[in-house]
């Protein structure tokens, strides 16, 4: 009598425990929420590039990468990677600010890093990406043309400061702004030469968000962008009182408070020459 009931229960339990195991394997979709940008083939390996939108755009791009071993059809978990984006201009070529590549937090097969494309051609052409990686002591390298599309707003700015240095400034946060006090995050890099773009430390960037479409009003309780040496980015509080188009007027100052770029917004001066744009 009892066995009659126990057996099915035991079977069901067994079935579910098995199936959960299977699920665990299937759920290991480490690229969930990401869109494939491009796949690069390099003999025995396939390199997949992902980000949230599935395309490179000018400005800050957080990129996820995976390397697949084509013979075993499995993803490499212990590669060492580096990269070099390169833009070919009519008279010269240059790279862009970028991070190193490291294993994404909590993931086995996904590597992560960022690239800031400071410009592009109108047809998205001009850029190539070189990937260097080491698997089990063997070095590989591959270069592939990539498409970088123009982002609709100015989310990055390249300019020469009054100290004669070229800087690149890129907006990272808020990605998803709301009518609130948003955390603003910006990357600031110096163009040492065509290939090297080190982080600029300990400067200050004054922030004055404005709505040019509405009498150029500002918003209260913003703070200036200050350097955070934990992650090498600049942070500020950005108040947005309504949706729409905002011009984030900026003024870059070095550690001695010398103004390197940008002006105050006044009744006579509608905008700073250094600014980023935001729309939501």
């Amino acid at each position: 009598m009892k066995l009659k009931y126990l057996l099915p229960i035991a079977f069901i339990a067994l079935f579910f425990s098995c199936s959960t195991d299977n699920d665990d394997d299937a759920i290991v979709n480490e690229t969930e929420g990401l869109e494939l940008i491009q796949t690069i083939f390099n003999n025995n390996q396939t390199i997949e590039l992902y980000n949230e939108k599935g395309m490179f755009e000018t400005g800050y791009n957080l990129v996820s990468l995976r390397i697949k071993d084509n013979t075993t059809d499995s993803y490499i978990e212990d590669a060492i990677l580096s990269w070099m984006p390169m833009m070919q201009m009519p008279t010269m070529e240059h790279s862009s600010p970028k991070s190193t590549i490291s294993k994404a937090l909590g993931k086995d097969t996904v590597y992560e890093g960022f690239i800031i494309y400071q410009m592009t051609n109108t047809d998205a052409s001009g850029w190539s990406l070189t990937l260097n990686y080491t698997i089990d002591g063997t070095d590989y390298s591959v270069t592939e043309t990539i498409s970088v599309f123009q982002y609709e707003n100015q989310n990055t700015s390249t300019f020469m400061g009054s100290d004669g240095t070229n800087y690149i400034l890129a907006l990272i946060e808020p990605k998803d702004p709301s009518i609130a006090v948003n955390e603003m995050k910006v990357g600031l890099f110096k163009m040492e030469n065509m290939m090297t773009f080190p982080v600029v430390e300990d400067y200050t960037i004054a922030l004055d968000p404005r709505m040019p479409g509405m009498g150029n009003h500002t918003s209260p309780n913003n703070t200036d962008l200050t350097y955070n040496n934990a992650d090498n980015f600049y942070y500020a509080d950005l108040s947005l009182t309504m949706t729409g188009y905002w011009k984030l007027n900026l003024k870059l100052m070095n550690a001695n408070d010398d103004v390197l770029k940008g002006e105050d917004v006044t009744d006579e001066n509608e905008a700073s020459s250094l600014y980023l744009e935001l729309e939501f």
Partner: protein, 666 residues
């Protein structure tokens, strides 16, 4: 303050204590009683008004304690004791209803019409708290009570025309009353073009159009019990607001209720009335008629309220108790979309009222203790639980731009107390009272986001951390009759603590293009408001009478600054001639110079004025019923003027000839 509360409580308790006292000698006089309970209770018999088709607004304006703030020719905002909507409780037959406009373009009184109502009850200060908590007082617009007197069919038609503004009004009402069943329907339609101020100056955007229909039906299923249902639908379109930068393309209300009445005979419980109700308001502002605006915008707002009340009248010995247990749930949402002048930029959007839910429930107890033939002690208490919730997360976040600590919920416990002594002799009336009341901030005061006030030209930001506003009140009235001459004085004083008002937030730039800046709601430590009126009348002969009123008002904050919208010295005089079939009245209405204006809140000095009106009326009786003709001239001298209560001092109507014709068939 605490001592005062104690005093009031003691008075209240002591009167309750007397309830056991058995003294059957004094006869209760209910009509007298009601008279003293409320400041004024004028029956809305429209045939006794100057115009049969006068609006609620016109009607209220005739009351001594009420002044109407005008932003245009339509939807005036009533004030009592120099206090506006937030400090008043305005109800329709005990039903809570809240406007859906962030700019106060739609006071509750704009959603009903005279045809819907039987009477208006105005309670000054804490005497007006039967339906809710207030500081300044309460206005209850009473719907007609059910009747089952078998009077059969009755119908009426009203026609009105006024020359100034080419104003037309038509009203129709139909009624059938049986012994167990009644049904009545009425409709009213009003339309006005722009009116002219004195000297034929056309006031642009002063037009309006509105209609109102209502349906009421009732069934009496036993000698003691009946039930009735009422629906009012009110729709105004193309309403201009000359004093504001925007107009209204739609103001629409649906007000529905179901009432159960229980009237036992020969019991201490005289009546028990229970109502369930619902109302919904849609308000759409519109700037498309304005040729030049800094930026085009849409500003719709919605307000839905669900509620109930249960009200009992108990008469025991010399006590008359009123109990009212009520509750409501309101949802207020308003938003603003601005269209950038640069077409490539996206629309700009925000919630100006981020979906605020208000839940209230409370109980009101009043005792009228007639402890001697001429004396009454009237005491009341209201206790309530009030809860606000910001339903939209973005509402919390947007307020966090201005305030460090924003909770999505706020609970309050509110108390109102009042006690008044009344003495009534044949030639002599006297009353004095004390009160203490609290109120919660309004939705705009608590949660508004960039609400532009064209009066002081500032954008206002709500403050969810405001304390309850509290008031101590003392009032006094006195009336003496000498043969045909009567003189009276009435006076109220309010000491308001944590008086809610907007304070300039320096360094915050306004959202509205051209505004002076931003004010955030905060509270003055205290403020004082005082008013006094002297009324007199003299009956010269059987047919001739003359009456007059002078008033003085005062309002100051603890910072020494004048409060805004305080009425200057005012006077009114009327000369009457009355026969049963004809009446005539010549009126003089005026204000002194407004010298104690509040420059801090955008007021400037409003000059004194005086206008003359002439009103005439005839009644004709015939076999079918009667015909009432009312006609006259307002502002005979075509004076160009504005009062302190005219938003941005826009001028009022110049000379106006009017004619109202009413047919009553029965």
């Amino acid at each position: 303050m605490k001592t005062l509360i104690t005093v009031i409580l003691c008075l209240l308790l002591s009167s309750l204590g007397f309830a056991q006292d058995n003294n059957k000698e004094t006869k209760k006089d209910t009509t007298k009683l009601e008279e003293v309970l409320v400041l004024s209770r004028r029956k809305l018999s429209n045939h006794r008004q100057e115009k049969t088709l006068s609006s609620i607004d016109d009607y209220l304006e005739k009351s001594n304690k009420v002044t109407m703030i005008k932003r245009g020719n339509y939807a005036w905002e009533p004030t009592i004791n120099n206090m506006t909507s937030e400090r008043l409780v305005v109800t329709i037959d005990g039903m809570q209803i809240f406007g859906a406009c962030t700019d106060k373009m739609d006071p509750i009184t704009s959603y009903v019409d005279v045809s819907n109502l039987e009477k208006v009850t105005i309670g000054s200060g804490q005497e007006g708290t039967e339906n809710g908590h207030s500081i300044g007082g309460g206005i209850d617009l009473k719907l007609p009570s059910s009747k089952f007197n078998g009077s059969g069919f009755k119908s009426g038609l009203d026609l009105g025309y006024e020359t100034n503004g080419n104003y037309k009004a038509t009203g129709l009402d139909l009624e059938y009353t049986g012994n167990k069943f009644f049904i009545s329907a009425d409709g009213i339609y009003r339309k006005s073009d722009n009116y002219d101020a004195g000297n034929n100056e056309e006031i642009l955007y002063s037009q309006f159009e509105k209609y109102n229909i209502s349906l009421k039906t009732g069934y009496k299923f036993s000698e003691t019990q009946s039930i009735d249902a009422n629906v009012i639908y009110d729709k105004a379109t193309d309403v201009g607001y000359p004093a504001l930068p925007m107009d209204v393309s739609l103001a629409e209300a649906l007000i529905a209720s179901l009432t159960h009445n229980y009237k036992p005979e020969d019991k201490a419980l005289k009546s028990l009335e229970t109502k369930l109700y619902f109302n919904t308001i849609t308000h759409i502002m519109d700037d498309t008629k304005r040729p030049v605006v800094a930026i085009r915008m849409d500003m719709p707002g919605w307000s839905d309220t669900y509620g109930f009340y249960s009200k009992a009248d108990v008469v025991q010995n010399k006590h008359h108790f009123t109990f009212n247990f009520n509750g409501f749930y309101n949802k207020s949402l308003a938003e603003m979309t601005m269209f950038s002048n640069n077409p490539s930029e996206p629309d700009m959007f925000m919630y100006t009222w981020p979906d605020i839910r208000t839940l209230y429930s409370g109980i009101f107890i009043k005792d009228d203790f007639h402890f001697s033939a001429h004396e009454t002690l009237a005491s009341s208490i209201r206790l309530g639980y009030h809860k606000n919730k910001i339903a939209k997360e973005v509402g919390v976040q947007s307020l966090e731009i201005f305030h460090d600590n924003v909770q999505d919920q706020n609970n309050r416990f509110l108390v109102s107390l009042s006690s008044a002594y009344q003495l009534k002799k044949e030639n002599y009336n006297l009353s004095f009272g004390l009160g203490y009341g609290e109120r919660a901030p309004s939705v705009s005061e608590g949660y508004g986001f960039f609400l532009f006030d064209s009066f002081d030209n500032y954008d206002y930001i709500g403050n969810p951390n405001l304390k309850d506003e509290k008031a101590l009140e003392a009032n006094f009235s006195f009336k003496q009759k000498f043969n045909d001459f009567e003189i009276g004085l009435e006076s109220s004083y309010f000491h308001i603590m944590d008086y809610i008002i907007g304070e300039i937030a320096p360094d915050v730039s306004s959202m509205t293009i051209g505004a002076n800046g931003v004010r955030v709601y905060t509270a003055l430590d205290h403020a004082s408001i005082f008013n006094t009126y002297v009324n007199s009348s003299y009956k010269i002969s059987e047919r001739f009478a003359i009456n007059g009123t002078v008033g003085y008002n005062y309002g100051k904050g603890n910072d020494g600054e004048n409060l805004p919208l305080i009425k200057p010295f005012s006077y009114f005089a009327e000369f009457n001639y009355n026969t049963p079939k004809f009446n005539a009245a010549l009126q003089l209405d005026g204000n002194g110079n407004q010298s104690n204006y509040s420059s801090k809140y955008g007021e400037n000095e409003t000059a004194d004025y005086a206008i003359l009106n002439l009103n005439l009326g005839n009644v004709f009786h015939n076999k079918l019923g009667k015909t009432v003709l009312k006609y006259g001239v307002e502002n005979i001298l075509d004076t160009k003027y504005s009062t302190y209560a005219d938003w941005n001092n826009f001028p009022r109507q110049g000379r106006n000839f009017y004619l109202n014709l009413s047919f009553v068939l029965q």
